[in-house]
């Protein structure tokens, strides 16, 4: 078990990000000097440094080129379309998140903040490229550990402490589940290599299925699937806007990429899929219903978005089931996640503009009359919400549509697949009701508390990128 030279070449962008992240974190030693108090210069320096890191990593991917299928390394890593898609998702989210962080990152802990963010961004492609239980677990923990730190430093009040402690304990707990599952798989197959393990699915017995289920439980925590979703609203509420964006997106990408890697596409045997698919379907149904119904009841915007993130996990799980059943390309999930990044991060960026200007965006009522005070951010918010509802001319339309296609197209189990499609449709309607509530508050004519006249170029760019992508991807869905 060693990293070959070819694998190292293909992992260049991730290695660059890891080194960059470590260097940025080390820079904290330099910036702690008492006479260096120019916080604005520091803020710009760190953001530019992280952005440069990310751009260099992207350039490195461009330089190493897309790996050939033949040269795909099947030891610890495997470089295929999935790995590249995970990397794309990570870089896309990273770009928007760094822009968002520019004016919302905690002033005293800039070095740690950006360092952790860069390491998370490096970890997701590692999960995506992993072809071994060890490398997958390594990648997942590389996502988790910086997240604990980030949650701890962005807010230092009681709510922040609660959020970070809750996430830390539950996440550690979930990792234990995951490891237990992996140990069963290893014990059954005698290897940690995923190619070997998926080959052994064919002779799979109950033990194998148990291992898979335990691993799925561990990953369900990362993607906030019910019943592992309880931390989400508290964590979203007890952290900064940008961090809420991070929490809604990056762990979800990591979790789904790991699920796709673990379960494979179309490689599950009859015996294993007979156990896994009903569990996943039940989990999907429960996740979207619980997420949407609880979201309707919220007045707190952050908690609402947390439950909305839970609901989207439910839709994605349906797509995952379609994937397992049909030997379909995992494109549905990656496209959905890309659209989700554009709409959710765009929404949080618009809220970030209010927070950065000294306003509040915790309750829905805080946004009342926002359109008169901040038309640009309101339009960004509108596009994001229309996309979340899933109306046409936004990427969210295709995202939902493709999940519907994947779910309905399966012709073997007619009634179940049509039922799941109809259930998701009902959920989408429930979701429309609470997104519409935000939208109608933004355009209401009441007295507004939204602050005026503070322009943050970085946030403006962040939500402009999201808005443009959301609309553009509707017309070119194959680019999603």
């Amino acid at each position: 078990m060693q990293i070959t030279k070819a694998a190292a070449t293909h992992l260049t962008p991730e290695i660059i990000l890891l080194i960059g992240g470590t260097l940025v974190m080390c820079a904290s030693v330099l910036t702690r000097k008492p006479h260096r108090e120019d916080i604005y210069a520091q803020r710009n320096n760190f953001a530019v440094a992280s952005l440069v890191c990310l751009l260099v990593a992207m350039a490195a991917r461009y330089w190493t080129g897309v790996p050939q299928v033949g040269s795909a390394d099947l030891g610890l890593f495997r470089f295929d379309a999935s790995a590249l898609a995970a990397e794309r998702l990570s870089f896309l989210g990273g770009l928007i998140l760094i822009l968002m962080s520019w004016s919302t990152a905690p002033k005293g802990r800039l070095a740690e903040y950006y360092g952790c963010l860069l390491i998370i961004l490096a970890a997701i492609p590692i999960v995506g490229a992993s072809n071994d239980l060890v490398s997958m677990f390594l990648g997942l923990e590389l996502v988790s550990f910086p997240t604990y730190i980030l949650l701890g430093i962005v807010r230092t009040d009681n709510a922040g402490a609660e959020a970070s402690l809750k996430y830390f304990l539950l996440s550690a707990f979930a990792s234990c589940f995951f490891l237990l599952g992996l140990s069963y798989l290893y014990g059954f197959c005698g290897s940690t290599n995923l190619t070997v393990i998926q080959g052994a699915f064919g002779e799979g017995k109950r033990l194998m299925a148990l291992g898979l289920l335990l691993a799925i439980c561990g990953l369900s925590f990362r993607i906030t699937a019910v019943p592992f979703h309880f931390y989400a609203p508290d964590v979203f509420e007890g952290t900064s806007v940008t961090m809420a964006g991070v929490m809604s997106y990056l762990p979800k990408v990591a979790g789904f990429v790991a699920l796709i890697r673990l379960l494979g596409t179309g490689t599950l045997s009859q015996g294993a899929s007979g156990v896994v698919i009903p569990v996943l379907l039940g989990c999907a149904a429960l996740t979207m219903c619980v997420g949407n119904i609880l979201a309707v009841a919220q007045n707190n915007l952050r908690r609402m978005m947390a439950y909305s993130s839970v609901a989207h996990t439910g839709y994605l799980l349906l797509a995952l089931v379609a994937l397992i059943r049909q030997d379909a390309s995992p494109g549905v999930i990656y496209s959905y996640l890309a659209a989700y990044a554009a709409m959710t991060l765009g929404l949080f960026a618009c809220l970030g503009e209010i927070e950065a200007a000294g306003g509040k965006s915790h309750l829905i009522g805080d946004l009342s009359g926002m359109f008169q005070r901040r038309p640009a951010a309101s339009i960004g918010l509108t596009v994001a919400l229309i996309s979340l509802i899933g109306l046409p001319f936004t990427a969210g339309f295709w995202a939902k549509f493709m999940v519907f296609v994947g779910t309905v197209a399966d012709r073997q189990t007619d009634s179940v697949s049509m039922l799941m499609g109809a259930l998701m449709a009902i959920n989408a309607v429930i979701a429309a009701s609470y997104y519409w509530r935000i939208l109608s508050t933004v355009y209401s004519k009441s007295e507004s508390n939204v602050p005026l006249r503070v322009f943050r170029p970085s946030l403006f760019f962040a939500y402009t990128i999201c808005t443009v992508l959301t609309i553009l991807w509707f017309f070119v869905p194959s680019a999603m």
Partner: protein, 549 residues
């Protein structure tokens, strides 16, 4: 390749964008909006002429000969090809969008053009706040409606069907002047989505139907209708998937056309929105559900429809005729009276469609056009009255407006009679045909529905009596001085008279209008009529002969 089709969708949309981004010159944009709507009307008339002139013989290969949907003019571009990053059963999804028009589409496009133009024309004097934004949104709505009527595939149909919602909710939310337009717009949004999102599951299921024969999935209506015709003639039994699909589609279109238990959004929306907005919603948007039944449900799932939904929806249609008329009789608020009367009249069209016979389908298509004209005219008159009097209530009798507004009185009587189905006017032709179509399938339903025409005349005359007659027309203000009423200006009566002439023309020469689309509805009937007859053998069918092709 027909250039009018993309223009019909893009001209209103582009002009709306110009209006939205006009910035400080916004006030000057009102005439521009009217001009854009006039251009759209001209384009739609042009399209109608083109469709009218194309001979209605099946044009080419054997595959399309069976298709019940055969567009006469088409617009298919390679750039409108959607490759989704998802594959089904190993086949990538690669769907070609196509636009086109047959007689039915052309008729609805013409309706949208006429109503759209006059609504915007009237809006310029009736809407006081942000007139240019209002007109811009109306233009967006018109563009999306054109898209629905001109689409010849499931995907673009669905995209435009959903997209119509966005301008409409904004119009209701932003310019509604009734009680609580915010709640009404929310209910409108949720009800419509509750229908249309489950509908997409049905539509995808239809698009996947060719997979059973090993063919790639497709969304083209003509191909799918040919497949459905083949399946119907070979007598393939329907599966649970078809049952699901037809019910989901019926739910989606049923909510849009406000079928009985799903109708509560309609009166609330009509009462809350400005009557100018309502005229477009009631006359064109409410037709989307009916158009969907005619364009998608009947041609693509004829067998499943006749087994599952034909009698259920038909019965609901007959009930809604009577129910709507009775509620209209009991309401005082004029907006609600018109809302329920519109509900009642749509019931006739539903009945005609669900008969699945030649007369029924033809009559329904014609009545869709007629009802659009009449309802729009009634809401225009209402908005003119409200401009002069504030909210109109029928509670106070003998308002004697005929003495005050003679021109308006004549037009109101004319349109009331057209709606009540006076022979010689257009309402009569459509309702007669839909009822005679249903007569061949189930006389009981016709017996119920006929009550609606009596009740329709009743509430129509009640409006006329309470608003126009009795009293001497002098209305007093607070100081007991007589108020001066201003009769219709040229700007106001031109649209009404124009639409009135159209009503009269269709009433006198219905066959000339029907020639536009009769070939299409007849082709559909050759598919649907035998299917329906096969399922409902025990129905009290009066005519046994097969229809002439």
């Amino acid at each position: 390749m027909n250039i009018l089709i993309p223009l019909l969708i893009l001209v209103p949309l582009a002009s709306a964008l110009v209006i939205f981004f006009s910035g400080p010159r916004a006030k000057a944009m009102v005439p521009f909006g009217i001009f854009a709507a006039a251009l759209t009307l001209l384009l739609s008339v042009g399209l109608c002429f083109q469709v009218y002139q194309v001979p209605s013989t099946p044009s080419d290969a054997s595959m399309s000969a069976q298709a019940t949907i055969q567009p006469k003019v088409t617009f298919i571009s390679e750039t409108l090809r959607f490759v989704l990053p998802v594959s089904v059963a190993g086949q990538p999804i690669d769907w070609q969008l196509s636009f086109g028009a047959d007689g039915i589409s052309a008729l609805m496009v013409l309706l949208t053009g006429i109503i759209g133009f006059f609504t915007i024309w009237l809006a310029s004097s009736q809407i006081r706040v942000k007139t240019e934004a209002y007109i811009g949104l109306l233009l967006v709505a018109i563009s999306m409606l054109m898209g629905v009527f001109l689409s010849m595939d499931l995907l673009s149909f669905y995209i435009f069907f959903e997209a119509v919602l966005i301008p409409l909710i904004l119009l209701i939310h932003g310019w509604g002047d009734g009680k609580n337009p915010q709640a009404a717009s929310k209910r409108f949004l949720l009800f419509t989505l509750a229908g249309s999102i489950p509908m997409v599951v049905g539509l995808i299921s239809l698009a996947m139907a060719p997979l059973t024969n090993g063919q790639p999935s497709t969304v083209a209506l003509s191909e799918l209708s040919a497949l459905a015709a083949q399946a119907a003639s070979s007598g393939v039994p329907i599966g649970s998937r078809d049952t699901w699909a037809v019910w989901l589609l019926l739910l989606g279109f049923g909510i849009k056309l406000a079928i009985l238990p799903l109708h509560t959004w309609l009166p609330m929306t009509y009462a809350a929105a400005h009557p100018n907005t309502t005229s477009l919603i009631a006359s064109v948007v409410a037709k989307l559900g009916l158009y969907g039944l005619l364009r998608i449900v009947i041609p693509l799932t004829p067998v499943a429809l006749s087994i599952e939904g034909q009698m259920v929806v038909g019965t609901l249609g007959a009930i809604v005729i009577v129910y709507g008329a009775l509620v209209a009789l009991s309401k005082e608020n004029m907006r609600e009276v018109l809302a329920f009367s519109s509900l009642s009249h749509v019931g006739f069209i539903t009945l005609g469609l669900m008969s699945m016979t030649r007369e029924g389908l033809g009559g329904a298509a014609l009545q869709m056009f007629n009802h659009g004209l009449i309802t729009a005219a009634m809401f225009w008159i209402l908005s003119m009255l409200e401009q002069r009097h504030g909210p109109i209530s029928l509670r106070s009798e003998d308002q004697g407006m005929a003495a005050q507004y003679p021109k308006l009185a004549v037009l109101l009587v004319f349109f009331t009679l057209a709606g009540a189905g006076l022979p010689g006017l257009n309402g009569f032709v459509g309702e007669f045909l839909t009822l005679s179509g249903m007569m061949r399938v189930c006389t009981t339903l016709v017996a119920i529905a006929v009550l609606g025409t009596v009740l329709g005349a009743w509430y129509g005359l009640r409006i006329v009596q309470r608003l126009l007659f009795g009293g001497n027309g002098t209305r007093l203000d607070k100081q007991s001085r007589p108020l001066a009423g201003v009769d219709l200006s040229v700007r106001e009566w031109v649209p009404l008279v124009a639409v009135g002439f159209l009503c009269l023309y269709i009433g006198l020469f219905p066959m000339r209008t029907m020639k536009l689309f009769q070939a299409d509805t007849d082709r559909l009937a050759t598919l649907s009529e035998p299917v329906s007859k096969q399922i409902h053998r025990d129905m009290d069918t009066l005519i046994v002969e097969s229809p002439t092709p």
